[in-house]
Structures are given as structure tokens and as C-alpha cells.
Assembly symmetry: C3
Homo-oligomer: 343 residues x 3
């Protein structure tokens, strides 16, 4: 499945090995020594592949699949076609992710420092660090053990990275303290001054931004995303939060742990997100808003002030999604009731 120009492929593995990797159980009668060569999708899998089913919508394709083996939930075991090996687990998607990673381990770039990289003598560089070409590392920067820094990336004065971080190409990191195992994709700009002015008819005074960006462990940040530093308080991204491409996080924003911010979402200044909050794509959050733990904001919605913990909101201004769905439904009914025809 994986193009060898881009991905490594490890040798075939027995079902017993795969069950170990996936923390799955072989269904009764399955041969533990059967060899599987690779992962594949439901539709494309052949006898040498293992696939998975995580959604009942695909049961039919599952029952007709030619895959040699499948990762399935307990309730679907009986639906497997004759001759297919079955690995039973509670979370087939997660199990598949682990097996895929075992067949195609990510290649870590070498832990070498390219001679064109410019590293200030005062910078502290850990062990087993890889730094690509034309990287610029300024005074008093600290890079933890095992980090990888992509080509043409600039790390400004005083920035600290914990162990095991991976930074893409052409990124800029400034005014930030970054935890362990953080991944920042190419083109991201972290630590720029916030967009804060005192304005009136007599002109504009830029408010000095004296805060930092604090990025906790295990955060992931997408390509060309921008995170501004705080104005005095810090901008904070909590542990394990994942942020997609082209997202904007403004000054003083505090994001909790385990949040998910999908592409092109934007969070305005001084807003606070709790833990495990989800912002779907293109969501906007107005400044000084608060969003409670585990709240979910549907795509393109606009949060103007407060969303309670656990709520699912949609629309603009954002409201409980059940309310929004009925509102949208009623609008369309009202329209149709006036005698027009759908296109």
C-alpha cells in the first residue's frame, strides 16, 4: 500500500505478532502463524492484507471483502466471510493505526547537524539532535535531547524546546517555551507579537506584548498555523492538544489539555478553552469568550461569549446544536410552505 519512494515497509508478520501489536485477540479457529504483508483499506485489501471496520455503514463491504484478516469489534465477528482471519478488539481504528505504524515506521531524520546551520555559541543543544540545512538558532536557545529541526527554520533568542520535539521547515519560533514531544509543522509562526493597539482619532499606540507562548508536552501544531504571544499574561496551549493547519491563536488565549482545533479555526484574544474542547473547521471564537470542558463547536460556527462544559454548539451566534438544527429546519419549512419549489 505505501509508496516505497516515501515510506519504509517492514517484513510480513504473523497474526500472532499483529495481535500483540494491536492488543487484539485472535478469533476461535484463527491460525496464529498466517502471514500478513501489509495494511490496506476495506475496499482494496487482498489475501495478504489486514484491514479494519469501525463503522457499521461499511458492514456490507466487510462481508464481501477479500482481505486476509480484519480487525473487528466483538459484535461483528460473526459477520466475517468464511476463510477470513479475525482479530477482535474494542477499538479497531486504533488497533489498525498501531499495525500500520509497525509495518511503516516513521523514518527519523539522522541526528546530525548540517554544516550550513547557524547555531549561536550560547545555545544549548541536547544529545541526538538533528538540525537541517540553513537553520538559524539564536542566542540562549535550548534544544532538548532527540529533537529534529527542519531546514530553513528560525529559532529566536531564548526559546526552549523539551526532549523529542519535531519542527518542520521554514517555521519561526520566538518568545516561546515548548515542552517535550511537541510537533510543529512547516511554515508555522509561533510567538509573534499580538494584534493589540490603543486606537482613537489621534492615532495608534502599539501595546507592547511582554508575554510568551507556553506549549505543553505532546502538543501538535499544523502547517502555516500562527500563535501569537501574550500581552503580559502568556498564551498557553495545554498538554496533548492538537491544532490543524492555518489556525490562528491570538494573544493571551488559554487552551486546556487534549483539545482539538481543526483547520482554519481562529480564537481571538484572551479567550479560554477548557480541557478536551473541540473546535471544528473554520470556527471562530470571539475575544474574552469561555468554552467549558469537553464542549464541541460545529464547523463554521461563531462563539460570541460562553459555551457550557459538555455542550455541543452550532451556528452564528453559536447555540445548542439541537436548537440550531430545528431553527434551520423551520426556516426551510417556512420557505417551502410559501409555495416555491426546490431546485
Amino acid at each position: 500500500m505505501a509508496d516505497p519512494r516515501f515510506f519504509l515497509t517492514t517484513p510480513p508478520k504473523t497474526l500472532a505478532e499483529l495481535a500483540g501489536i494491536a492488543e487484539a485477540k485472535l478469533a476461535d479457529g484463527t491460525n496464529p502463524d498466517q502471514l500478513i504483508a501489509d495494511v490496506a483499506t476495506l475496499e482494496t485489501a487482498g489475501p495478504e492484507h489486514i484491514a479494519f471496520i469501525a463503522n457499521r455503514r461499511y458492514v456490507r463491504a466487510f462481508t464481501e471483502s477479500k482481505a486476509g484478516a480484519f480487525l473487528v469489534e466483538p459484535t461483528l465477528v460473526e459477520r466475517a466471510p468464511a476463510g477470513m482471519a479475525v482479530l477482535v478488539c474494542d477499538k479497531p481504528r486504533r488497533a489498525f493505526a498501531r499495525i500500520a505504524a509497525a509495518f511503516h515506521p516513521e523514518e527519523t531524520p539522522e541526528a546530525t547537524i548540517h554544516p550550513t546551520a547557524l547555531i549561536d555559541p550560547s545555545a544549548r543543544i541536547g544529545r541526538d539532535v538533528g538540525i537541517e540545512a540553513h537553520v538559524v538558532i539564536a542566542a540562549n536557545v535550548s534544544i532538548g535531547d532527540g529533537c529534529r529541526i527542519g531546514a530553513n527554520t528560525v529559532i529566536e533568542r531564548g526559546v526552549e524546546l523539551g526532549a523529542g520535539c519535531v519542527i518542520g521547515n521554514n517555521a519561526t519560533l520566538s518568545y516561546c517555551l515548548i515542552g517535550a514531544r511537541v510537533q510543529i509543522a512547516s511554515g508555522a509562526v509561533i510567538g509573534n507579537t499580538g494584534f493589540g493597539y490603543d486606537l482613537d482619532a489621534s492615532g495608534r499606540t502599539k501595546v507592547p506584548h511582554l508575554g510568551r507562548v507556553i506549549i505543553e508536552d505532546d502538543v501538535e501544531i499544523g502547517a502555516n498555523t500562527t500563535i501569537d504571544r501574550g500581552s503580559g499574561p502568556d498564551t498557553v496551549i495545554g498538554r496533548g492538544t492538537v491544532i490543524d493547519n492555518l489556525v490562528m491563536i491570538a494573544h493571551n488565549v488559554r487552551i486546556g489539555r487534549g483539545c482539538i482545533l481543526v483547520a482554519q479555526a481562529g480564537v481571538a484574544g484572551s479567550s479560554i478553552l477548557g480541557d478536551y474542547v473541540t473546535l471544528a473547521g473554520q470556527v471562530g471564537v470571539a475575544n474574552h469568550s469561555t468554552i467549558g470542558d469537553r464542549a464541541v463547536i460545529a464547523g463554521k460556527s461563531g462563539v460570541l461569549s460562553h459555551v457550557p462544559a459538555g455542550a455541543v454548539y452550532a451556528g452564528y451566534p453559536a447555540m445548542p446544536i439541537r436548537e440550531w438544527r430545528r431553527l434551520v429546519g423551520q426556516q426551510r419549512l417556512a420557505y417551502k410552505g410559501k409555495g416555491s419549489k426546490d431546485e
Copy 2:
């Protein structure tokens, strides 16, 4: 018209030459030897310029124009002011584009490889390739004949570019196979891992993204746009599709031929666009959506599932634009009927 600091200007041309370039016909009585020095807009053109009219809204300005010559549709020939030379053609805007390109040909950067560019010995570089300063080209990359690669751009392992591609500055290309004559503007990030996780209370497992980005011939991609690679299937951009700045294309998305994606649009994972689809600015398409051939989605709309071929949709959730227009109109009428005054 064109600032010589930025654009070349070729010598004046006769109307006969211009008619040839534009595939236009000289109107009766036009002197084929009349010289024109440059293109200009309707409002700014003088006797030495050629302009065009493509929209009836501007007929009055046309009849009062001082331009030496005009490109016009057949139906407007009679409205030309006395003494103006007229070139008749079906598509004046397209004809004008060709004449503008003849007066101001794009300067191709030289086909030289800057000594600071770092090119892995295993990379295959075609003939007449230009590679600017500080470019990094990794192992097994293939660059087709006549390509131009802008400064500080990074091309990761295994990437292939067809002939005649033009890549801007500070871009990152990875995990992608690119056709001929593709243009990718500065700051674009192609091939980053998709935003796919298996999440639950016990934590997060990153789904390995083992697919690629396939970009077919004659595609154009704007500045700071991001296109993620597939999770197993590929992300595909069909032949001749044009994508504006700051657009997000997620993993596994398949876009057909000749589509137009305007700035800040976003397409979520596994969605499918047919051929000749238009997404206007800031449109969002939810994951697993399908949009039929030649459908048009109005600016800022949100597509949640399916748009039929040929339809014009607007709103959020997107609906047929006729329906949306009436709905918006009724809302405002209802509001006004309650006795309030417009501001």
C-alpha cells in the same frame, strides 16, 4: 502601464499583429498598420493603448474612452466612438490577456543552479532547470526539464516534479507526485501528515498517514496554501485545477479537473469534488461530502454533505441559492414588518 522595475515591455505592435495574437478581426475601415504601444484599462487608456470591454455595465465608459483601440464583442462594434480602432472577438477578456502577455512577457528566471542550493547526489535534475539560493533537495527527488525552484524552498525525499513546474520561495513539498507545468506559490506546504487521530478518554493515537498528494498537470496552488497527504488513499488535485491563497485541503480529498478554489476555502477529509467545481472564498466543505461536476458554492457557504452536479448553492448549511436568497429576503421582510427602522 507596467512598472519597468517589475515588468518587461516589448516594442509597439501594429493592429494587424495584435489581431493575430488575440485571434480577433479588424473591424471594417481599421488601419492594420496603426501602432499600439501597450495595454491599458478602460478608464486610463490613451491613443497609444488598447483596452477591452467584457461587461455591458461599462458601455458608457467605452463610448467615452480615449483609447486608440478596443477589443469588443461583435454586438458592441457600433457603439465605438469615432476614430477608435476596433478588434472584434468573442472573448475580449481572453484576447486582452493574450495581448497583455505579448507586451509584457513573464521573465523566466535563469536556468542556473545557485551554488548555495543543496542537492542530494541521488536527485535527478532535468535540463534547463533553475534552482535558487538555499534550496534543499533531498534524496531521490526528481525535477523535470525546465522547472524553476524559488529560494529557500525544501523538497523532501522522493518527490517528483514533471516538466515546466514553477515553485515559489519558502515552500515545502513532501510525499507528493507533481505533474507538468504545475505552479506552486511561496509558502505553500504540500504533503504534510493529515489531521487524523483515534481519540478517546484513554488518550490519542496518531493514525499513520501512508498516502501521498497527487497533483496533476497544469494545477496552480496559491501562497501559504496547505494540502495534506492521504491516510492510505491519496489526496488528489485534478488536472487544470486552480487553488488560491490560504486554502486548506485535508487528507484523502479528491478534487476533479478544472476546479476553482478561491482564497481561504477549506475542504475536510475524504470529501470529493467533481470536475469544474467552484468553491468561492471562505467556503467550508465538511468531511465525506460530495460535490457534483460544475457545481458552484457561493462565498462563505458551508457544505455539510452533498451538492448535485450543476447546482449553485449558498448558505450554511448550503442550499440551492434561489432558496437561500428567498429565505434571506423573507427574514428581512419579517423583521421589517415588525415596525423597526433600518439604520
Copy 3:
């Protein structure tokens, strides 16, 4: 308050000095020789700090603050707790910004040209210019006195920068003429060709973009923002306008003086904004729109054609905000009237 890894801190200052910097007046009985060590926020300030209050919402926190000194409006002087020194001024936020800048002056990078920077011999470089590593400056570029150019930035042929500009890292400037004291953040792409095509069933002709980007004095442009050059007319950003991160400005757009464009806003081709216009975050402006002086467009709104001077608009399509608020309120009332319960 400010982390010494990132910010300079100057020595303590007397209240008399601070009053001079802030153009504030010491309240009666204040000791002009009292020393203040730093600025701080309302909540975190101690006896050695000066803070400010600009919003009556925080009066309670003010009356309980432990700050040594406060910047307050005349009407709040009497509410100050006993023992707190008070500096009276009309604009406490602005005064605070000035004092913060005095305690933590921005460190200007050195006016040196890094040996890895590539500067075409025909380029004109002013006095006291700082150019960081791996910068590429092409033929006939002109850089004014006192400019600072960040690492890995590319400045294409013919571009001109006035005195005192500050450009970030990994930016691309092309086809543009830039005034004095302009700030452009990392990753911005200025001067790319506009997104203009002549399209029909027979194919696509790219319209040559022969205009420029004109950026007047004192403009600020955020990270990863993109501004396309004009198609013949120029794209113009007026004096003192500030543009946040990830904003898109299309070809031929004309933006007046002192405008504010918040993050992820987008302005489509040939639209015109007057002076002192505000576009809040994620606003979209359709092409050929006009927005009058001092108009304000609320976040996420979509402007389809015209907004009068001084108006405050919201919604999509954008309407007077008072109208939009009532419309939204009525919709929710109508919905609630049908017997459903809020979540």
C-alpha cells in the same frame, strides 16, 4: 513581569518619571519620588508595580488591588484604595502601553549584514540596515535606512522599502513598493500574482497581473498573511493600516488609512475600503464591494456589495448590526415559542 530570556528590563523609575512618560498627572498627595519597578496586570500587581484600569467592569478588582500605583481616568480617582499612588490620565491603556515600553524597550537587532545573506550588487542598501542569515535580495532592490530583514526572507527584483521597516523571517516580498516604518511579520507573502483567469469550456487563460502592491507608511502586516498584486491597477494598503495574521487581500483591492483587519479576514478582488474601516476576524468581503469610512464589520460577517460610511454591519449577507441582532433574537424566540426546551 517580563521573562528576561525574551525581554529587556530597565531600572526602576520614580512616579514623576512615569507621569512624564505617560503624560499623566500625579493625584494630590502622591509622592513623586516613589519608585516603581515594573508594570503588571490588575490582578497580579504588587506594591512595586504600576497597573491600569480602562474598563468599569474591573472597578472591584481595582479597589482591592495591591498595586503600588495605578493609571486611572479622572472619574475613578476617588475609588483608589488607601495608600495606592494614582496617576490620572484620559487614556490609561495608552499610558500603560507607553510605560510598559519604557520598562521593556524592544531590542533592535544589530545593524549588521550576515555573511550568508545574498545581496545583488545592483541593490541599494541604506545606512544602519540589519540583514539576517540566508536572506536573498535580488537585482535593483532598494532598502531604506535603518531597516531590519529577518532570516531566510526573499526580496525579489525591484522591490523598494522605505526607512525603518522591519521584516520577519521566511517572508517573500515581490512586485511591491513599501513606505517607511512598515512592519511585515514572518511568513507573509506580498506581491504574488492575483487569482484572475478567463475561463470557459475551452480552457483557461491566465490574466497577466501587471500591477503592484503599494504599502504606505506605518502599515503593519501579520504572520502568514498574503497580499496579491494588482492586475493592472495596483493593490493599495493605506497609511497606518494594521493587518493581522492569515489575512488575504486580493488583487486590485484598495484599503484606506488607519484600517484594522483582524485575523483570517479576506477581501476579494477590486474591493475598496475607506479610511478607518474595521474588519473583525474571519470577515469576508466579496469582490467589487465598497465599504465607507469608519464602518465596522462584525466577526465572521460577509459583505456582498456596499456598506455605508460609519455603519456597523453584521451577518451574512451583512446588514446593520441592530437589524441582525433583532433578527437573531426573533429566530430564537420563534423557535422557543414552539415548545422546545433549551439544552
